[in-house]
């Protein structure tokens, strides 16, 4: 395993205007291998990236490129085989399970590709669940959850179960849930994949609003051109490594790469 030269990484991926910006998540040479019997899968082969505080970052990459593994690693959902992940300058490998739970609960909002809503709970309860983990209960939590659900346009579906909602609506519940504890970071895996154009645009607007007004850092994996266009920065992941960084205005979205 070769040691990573961080100065070289900087030269490669740090855009000049980002020099000196506060970093909220730093991944250094993250390697993740899965073992299935004799089969060894190298999901990440040394991914290195900086996520700046308050930026809207999109990550692109074909399926199997290690995108989800990267998400899990920088979202403190698993520990990398080697390499470091710092969230707010804290090496997450040093945290015990209680501290990790606190981190996942307060700092990060997760939006999963398959929503992962708790099927036995109503929309409202799904959004209130992370609040109860954070110690917020009762009327206060209820009020806040209703507000967030209204924000994502589900004010009329509070007491429905996920199974009674369309894919897009479930996605919006998932987004609402990720915002429950006012996180500093929102990690979204294909958040608009199941939304129609209009709703997709609404979600993008919501993300932009969160980012601009509340300074929330948004990291999303996406192939949605509109999302890419709205983001501050785009990273490409291929074969378990970050291979390219760019601002959307530098890119030609009509080119073959995006279709």
């Amino acid at each position: 395993m070769k040691a990573l030269d961080h100065t070289k990484f900087k030269a490669l991926f740090t855009l000049p205007e980002n020099e000196g910006r506060p970093v909220i998540i730093r991944g250094v040479d993250i390697i993740k291998t899965y073992r299935m019997g004799d089969q060894v899968t190298h999901a990440l082969r040394g991914a290195t990236l900086d996520v700046y505080k308050g930026e809207y970052l999109s990550i692109m990459g074909p399926s199997g490129s290690g995108k989800s593994t990267l998400f899990n690693a920088i979202g403190a959902l698993h520990k990398p085989t080697s390499g470091k992940v710092y969230i707010d300058q804290v090496d997450i490998a040093q945290l015990d399970t209680d501290e990790l739970a606190w981190l996942r609960c307060r700092k990060i909002g997760y939006i999963f590709q398959s929503y992962n809503l708790i099927q036995v709970m109503t929309c409202l309860e799904n959004v209130m669940l992370p609040m109860s983990f954070a110690g917020l209960d009762g009327e206060e939590a209820r009020e806040k959850a209703i507000q967030i659900l209204k924000l994502v346009g589900l004010g009329h579906r509070l007491l429905h179960k996920p199974a009674e909602l369309s894919g897009g609506q479930q996605q919006r519940v998932a987004i609402a849930r990720s915002l429950a504890n006012s996180p500093e970071i929102v990690l979204a895996d294909e958040p608009t994949a199941n939304l129609d154009q209009n709703t997709g645009q609404e979600m993008i607007d919501l993300f932009v609003k969160l980012q601009e007004e509340l300074g929330v850092t948004i990291i999303s994996a996406t192939h949605d051109l509109k999302m890419l266009q709205s983001s501050d920065r785009i990273l490409w992941i291929a074969d378990g490594r970050i291979v390219k960084a760019a601002r959307p205005e530098e890119l030609d979205f009509n080119s073959e790469d995006f279709h």
Binding site: T97, D98, W102, R104, F112, I118, L129, S132, F133
Partner: protein
Amino acid sequence: MPKIQNQIKLPISVALEVVLQGLRIRLGRSVVTITGVICGIAFLMSILTGQLIKQGVSEEDAKRAEVDRINNFMKADLPTLDGKNITLIAAGMLSEVETRVLERIIADGAAGIKVESGTESQIPRKLTALRPVPRDQLIAESAFVLVMGGDTLPDRDWRVLLGQTPLALTTPGGSPAGMLDGQFVKLSRELTEEELARRAAQARKDKFRSIWIGAVALLVTVIGITNAMLMSVTERFREIGTMKCLGALSAFIRQIFLLESSMMGLSGGIVGAIVGALFSIIAYALSYGISMVAGSLPLVPLFGFGIVCVIVGIVLSVVAALYPAHVASNMVPAHALRSNV
């Protein structure tokens, strides 16, 4: 910027709420899991009830044989009891065999039983219609005198009273004072040493057999419940992963599963105990007859076994859920999310 802190511990009421909601919503699945517990406990309970019934039936058989023997003995001397009076000297409580002997005497057409001694409360309710009558006349009129009850006789001049009696009998329970020896014919039967040894051996064999059957029943129960609990946890890995991503502590996850399993154990245990007992009672009633089973089933031990079975159900469910709950609570969230059970 706040530093990383320890996640707060939620009160158990939150876990309870989640569990109750889960059980209600997933009613179908919960019923399947509880059925596993019910089957295990019902099996255990039916074995225990069966042992009780069998023991009761064999005791009942012995009692019936003894009653028959005593009554036949009387009949050998008195071909018919029709219209005859019998004097009963009761010392203390009558045993069940003695009561039945009396019942049989009445059924055989005795005119009446005169209770000579002891209080009415010592005589079974069925026979209280037979009131004590003036003592002097009665012994002479009696076909025979019966001494029953486990206590020593009240201090009276029995020798004089019994002087004119054609036949004086004592049942196994009856223990006339030593001075009356020789005047009585004993109805009780002394067991020979050989018989006693055979009975003890049989008791040992029965005891070993019931322990062995109980152990097998318990094993089957453990396997059934463990399997049910394991399934109920593994099929929810994804949900557990999600909860962990949202900030649930391992202890909270563990609490949920242990609470859930204890509730399933409780409900499954209660239903299982009832089903098992009923099954056994019906099965034995079909082969021995309803009256035999009803007469020989002691309710207090049956109820005790029921309680034991419910406790076993709870304990086994919790123990069976310990391992899967441990696995689930310690899962890395990313792994839990990936699993597609």
